[in-house]
């Protein structure tokens, strides 16, 4: 007896296309996925789409226009399971930096006639508008994690996506800790795992593109960065990039206390997260 293949839809809001490209970057698995799943709506890949409902929707991008705020409600209504993919969809993305600025001023910097531009004052994650069943982090997402999510949904289990920090992945990979060995500022201790500790493996500090881990210790992290020589503005910039709108990173960007620069990482005092 033939059971119809589960249907998959891919949607784009304000974004760079990189997260949905991760699906096409599964070069070894793409055709196998297409055998098991009906790809029912994916305009980047196919000119043929069929109307909903869909079993699973993957949503890339953030909400920055009134029309998109309406469109995501329609997508939710057509989707049995809705998974957000990437930093834009889960935290508002780099375009979320407007949330800390005046969007009219931003508009006038880029466009000679700002009156033609229609945009919201904020860039917000999908979960600020509709219920989300699963959030996959990363700027961009990791394609192995995407495959894990698709596989888990196909067999009806929870995706196995650990919410611990990048530090765990450094240890798993055998990276030398860039903070301890070189005093390099690193956001790894508060950043969600998933990339495989790429930056420390390339001798640079993590820059937080997977957003905050489950329970980051804000005070200790800011202390680490200050000890590595970053001033307050540098710390603020470090947390205001691709996941600037994630609540834990908003908090981290506002922590101003910390030990004076020039102290070694070993001297970092213990701090409570709420300090």
């Amino acid at each position: 007896m033939d059971v119809p293949a589960p249907s998959l839809a891919v949607w784009k809001f304000a974004s760079c296309d990189g997260c949905q490209l991760s699906l096409l970057d599964c070069e070894d698995e793409l055709l196998a996925i297409a055998d098991r799943v009906e790809i029912a709506h994916f305009t980047e890949a196919s000119s043929q789409t069929r109307p909903g409902p869909y079993d699973v929707s993957l949503v890339e991008g953030s909400i920055t226009t009134a029309a998109d705020a309406e469109r995501i409600r329609q997508v939710r209504g057509m989707s049995r399971t809705l998974v957000t993919i990437g930093a834009c969809a889960t935290a508002g993305g780099v375009q979320g930096l407007r949330n800390f600025a005046d969007v009219r001023e931003f508009t006038s910097v880029v466009y000679a006639r700002p009156e033609y531009i229609s945009t919201l004052a904020t860039s917000t994650p999908i979960a600020a508008h509709v219920d989300v069943d699963f959030e996959l982090h990363g700027c961009p997402i990791d394609r192995r994690q995407l495959l894990e999510v698709i596989t888990a949904l196909l067999v009806g289990r929870e995706p196995n996506i650990p919410a611990h920090s990048v530090c765990f992945e450094c240890k798993q990979r055998g990276n030398v800790c860039v903070v301890v060995a070189h005093g390099t500022p690193c956001l790894g201790p508060v950043t969600h795992a998933g990339c495989g500790a790429l930056c420390p493996a390339h001798q640079r500090g993590c820059y937080g593109c997977f957003g905050p881990m489950e329970t980051p210790n804000a005070g200790a992290q800011v202390g680490l960065l200050r000890a590595a020589g970053m001033d307050e503005a540098d710390v603020r910039r470090a947390f205001r990039t691709f996941n600037a709108g994630a609540p834990a990173f908003v908090e981290l960007s506002q922590v101003t206390a910390g030990p004076p620069p020039g102290r070694g990482p070993g001297d970092i005092p213990e701090r409570r997260p709420d300090e």
């Binding site: 760079c16 096409l24 070894d28 793409l30 043929q48 226009t65 880029v110 700027c139 930056c199 540098d234």
Partner: protein
């Protein structure tokens, strides 16, 4: 057959292009009155949000403009900031950048040729449909294998295929070991055959008879097919360094559309991208790529946008060979980067993204903070030429019914591989549907 004098065609969501856009065609009294390529990608304000950032940050931040061509943004950003700070990287670092860029060309071109463009020529809605059809499976697998080799270069040299982490102003965080690149060379040697087969295969497609006479613009570096650096040049004799880009190229906001339209000062619309590069630099292709181009029936220039798929295929051959050449003579640069102390200055940079010239300009203050930024991606430069081509293309095909005409117009747009996500300048406006 359709002979209505008044028609309106609308494709509200163009498929198999990167980003969100729509096309409108209006016919009045049997003549094409208007063709509009509308881009409804919401604005993301990169040029505004870059202000106040450190001069070391644009490679990471501007990569996020486009997931398909992040290296192009990173490379132009590095060149512009290094120029502002009076730094020129070593030849070894420049070579490693060129290798990384070859990876992006292979990945992006293989994606476009096999997954986005070829289904048009073969009559399928998608590559996945094509893969379900007998021999189609092998074709799509070949495309995916090629694409994977491009990604392998990006992952080894750049640290990640999408938004590479290893690029920094002044060089790279880490130089790959020679042994790591040797393993990559084996994959590339296998890919060379796939790339040559791709040219032969695409040469068998049927190309509509259609030529344009736009001025074409690309970077040129005599003796080499320009990728990661060069002088801006045009098919009508213009030649200027990146620092003079804004004297020659003017961007205008137009009410009907979305991307700022670019034009050459005092000259008008122009085209950038693979066919422009090919027309200006085909003589500097490698012998094997040149031979493949000849066998495919490409002359020394290419003015038929439908044949751009052939040019991309030839550029993949070139990029694979060039990557092999760079790997063969590779010695890890030591150091792999140089410090780039900031100074108050303005710097410009231009490189060849898979889709054409990409220009960055930054002003930096003494603290190393960015005070202004300007980014001109290829798609906004091409929009006026694309619309002009569509106008002529539609006028010659008014006897087709709406469905056929719409399909052919969509295919015509895909010739240019427009990347709508390169959204620095793209806005969302109320469309006049009058």
């Amino acid at each position: 057959m359709s002979d209505e004098a008044d028609r309106r065609l609308t494709v509200s969501a163009l498929a198999r292009i990167e980003g969100e856009s729509a096309m409108h065609v209006r016919v009045r009294g049997g003549a094409v009155e208007d063709v509009r390529l509308e881009i409804y990608e919401p604005p993301r304000f990169f040029e505004a949000l870059l202000r106040g950032r450190r001069h070391t940050e644009p490679p990471d931040i501007t990569a996020r403009i486009c997931g398909i061509c992040p290296v192009a943004y990173q490379m132009s950003a590095c060149l512009a900031i290094e120029a502002a700070c009076g730094i020129e990287v070593s030849e070894e670092v420049a070579d490693l950048r060129r290798l990384l860029y070859c990876g992006e060309w292979i990945e992006s071109h293989a994606l476009h040729i096999y997954l986005l463009h070829a289904p048009d020529f073969l009559g399928y809605a998608s590559a996945l449909d094509l893969a379900r059809n007998g021999r189609g499976t092998q074709l799509v697998e070949r495309g995916l294998k090629l694409k994977k080799v491009g990604n392998a270069i990006m992952e080894l040299v750049g640290g990640r295929a999408i938004h590479p982490v290893n690029v920094r102003v002044g060089g790279f965080y880490r130089a790959p070991a020679k042994t790591e690149l040797t393993a990559l060379a084996e994959q590339l040697r296998a890919a060379l055959d796939l790339a040559l087969d791709t040219v032969t295969w695409a040469a068998g497609f049927e190309f509509p008879d259609f030529e344009h006479d736009h001025e074409m613009l690309a970077l040129v570096r005599p003796g080499q097919y320009a990728i990661e650096r060069g002088t801006v040049a045009s098919t009508r004799g213009l030649s200027f360094p990146a620092a003079e880009f804004e004297n020659h190229i003017i961007e205008e906001q137009v009410t009907h559309s979305t991307a700022l339209h670019a034009r050459l000062a005092g000259r008008g619309r122009y085209l950038t991208g693979p066919t422009a590069r090919y027309t200006l630099s085909s003589r500097w292709l490698s012998p094997l790529a040149r031979q493949a181009a000849d066998a495919a029936g490409l002359g020394l220039d290419c003015r038929n946008p439908f044949r751009s798929i052939l040019v991309r295929a030839v550029e993949v051959v070139y990029a694979v060979e060039e990557a092999l050449r760079l790997i063969e003579r590779y010695e890890p640069p030591a150091p792999c980067y140089q410090e780039v102390p900031p100074r108050a200055a303005v710097g410009h940079g231009a490189t060849e993204a898979p889709r054409g010239v990409i220009f960055h300009r930054y002003a930096i203050d003494t603290e190393g903070l960015i005070t202004s930024a300007r980014i001109v991606p290829p798609t906004s430069q091409n929009q006026a030429s694309i619309e002009d081509d569509l106008r002529r293309f539609v006028a010659a095909r008014l006897d087709l019914d709406d469905q056929q005409l719409t399909r052919q117009c969509e295919q015509a747009i895909r010739n240019y591989d427009p990347c709508i996500s390169c959204s620095t300048h793209f806005l969302n406006l109320t469309v006049d549907r009058g």
